[in-house]
């Protein structure tokens, strides 16, 4: 039975890159056969910036272990940043694929197999990460539905939307229901001139001045901070690799998306 089990598992390693996700961990067959034991996952080359833009389909392998690492990082970022970050579609889809493979692999394995409990345990951990990540995003969408959608409509066509397809559908659906509910329950009974929801003022917006802890992943020069007092006196600081900081979210907003800064 064991050999049958191992070639099933090797199918996980060589996930064929179907059209949806450019990210693939297709460590080819023969690399897998010479057992590289020890716990360091095989280090296939990954370029520094893991940009997962869909359109140009560069083949850059990333091992499942790094995949989980990325998921954990984006989970932490999403958890601490006040605003909705960019959706890591590639990572999420690849993780889902891995889980599916592992699950039908467990189903096919012999019932009393000693490894099943361990694989299940690991699957539960990864699922927890994934579900928590998606749940946090949905919570934010519900909180700032109108401002997210408004921003999404305003964005120029070449930048990717922050929301995944399903999230976009959910957000618009949610916003429609909230508006319908507010009008039905209150606004209808008010005199006509007050019936406008005037979302410009009342729309809840993410509070970008929230303070966050962060760790810099590599040296960053010239971050503008403290542009508070209106007489334009602001401070520029540099941060070197591996430092821990606590500061407002606003100054480092762009660095989080690009991965130079990791929220803790």
């Amino acid at each position: 039975m064991d050999n049958e089990y191992s070639n099933v598992i090797s199918s996980i390693r060589s996930i064929n890159t179907d059209e949806s996700s450019s990210l693939s961990s297709n460590t080819n067959e023969e690399e897998y056969n010479h057992h590289t034991n020890g716990t360091e996952a095989y280090s296939t080359h990954t370029n520094g910036h893991d940009n997962f833009d869909e359109d140009e389909d560069d083949e850059e392998e990333i091992t499942p272990a790094e995949l989980i690492e990325k998921l954990q990082q984006s989970w932490l970022n999403e958890k601490f940043s006040p605003e909705l970050l960019e959706h890591k579609t590639a990572v999420v889809e690849c993780i889902i694929e891995q889980i599916k493979h592992m699950e039908n692999n467990i189903r096919s394995a012999k019932k009393g197999d000693f490894r099943i409990a361990i694989h299940k345990l690991e699957l539960d951990r990864i699922k927890f990460l994934l579900y928590s990540y998606l749940r946090i995003r949905i919570k934010k969408i519900e909180q700032f539905a109108s401002s997210i959608l408004e921003e999404d409509n305003r964005r120029p066509s070449n930048i990717r939307s922050k929301l995944s397809a399903e999230e976009y559908a959910y957000a618009s659906e949610y916003l429609k229901n909230v508006r319908a509910h507010l009008t039905a329950s209150v606004l209808e009974h008010l005199p006509s001139n007050l019936q406008d929801l005037n979302e410009a003022v009342t729309m809840p917006r993410p509070d970008l001045d929230k303070f966050v802890f962060l760790r810099t992943m590599d040296n960053i020069k010239g971050i503008l901070i403290d542009d508070m007092t209106n007489d334009g006196r602001n401070e520029i600081i540099d941060m070197d690799k591996g430092d821990l900081y606590i500061m407002r979210y606003n100054p480092i907003k762009s660095y989080v998306n690009s991965g130079e800064v990791q929220l803790i």
Binding site: V201, T202, M203, P204, R205, D207
Partner: protein, 205 residues
Amino acid sequence: MQSDCYKNGYFNIQDIMASQERISCKFEIEIPNMGFLDSSSHDSNLKVGSKLDLPYWLIKAIYNEKFKFVNIDLPKWYKKFYHDILEADACVVDLRKMGPYYYDFGVLLLNLVETDIGLNIAKTLLSCFRSRFRRIMDLSAQTDHRDLYRAISKLDYTETEMYKAGQLDANGFIRWQRREFCKLLPSIIVTANKNKRKRTDSNGD
């Protein structure tokens, strides 16, 4: 500052309550048929010089540099006299008595007052907040808040929020150390209608 007076959003209760605070002000001009506001006079319109306590949001909506229809009299907590007290030792002052929203209302007041008095208020608020922080941090580290009641009653609304956040951290750590998250407790719904289930059990067997 696009909606400075609505700090964390339009529907934030704390802001709404803060802007409810009343300010006593003397009317500079006469306002036709608003006499009903001033209970002391029976005249239909509001005469010059009548003194009224108006809530902040009303004044904010109408009042601006050009149209000073009232003369604002600062609440006594924000006057010079109290600034010296706070300067002396902020920790013992009972901020809750001075209006539960001392800081928030103080910030809101800055919009109505001239810059120099405003600056003074803002500076006092800042130093008072800073000096009281240590006490709040130490208070919140104690997990049993029953015997702290006397100390907590001196905090204003914002400080109580900070105290609660500190409590959250402290309790979270204690619960983690006692590994209470390992115990899976039945959800309330189950325990709530436990007796109902028992009845079905009893007539079951």
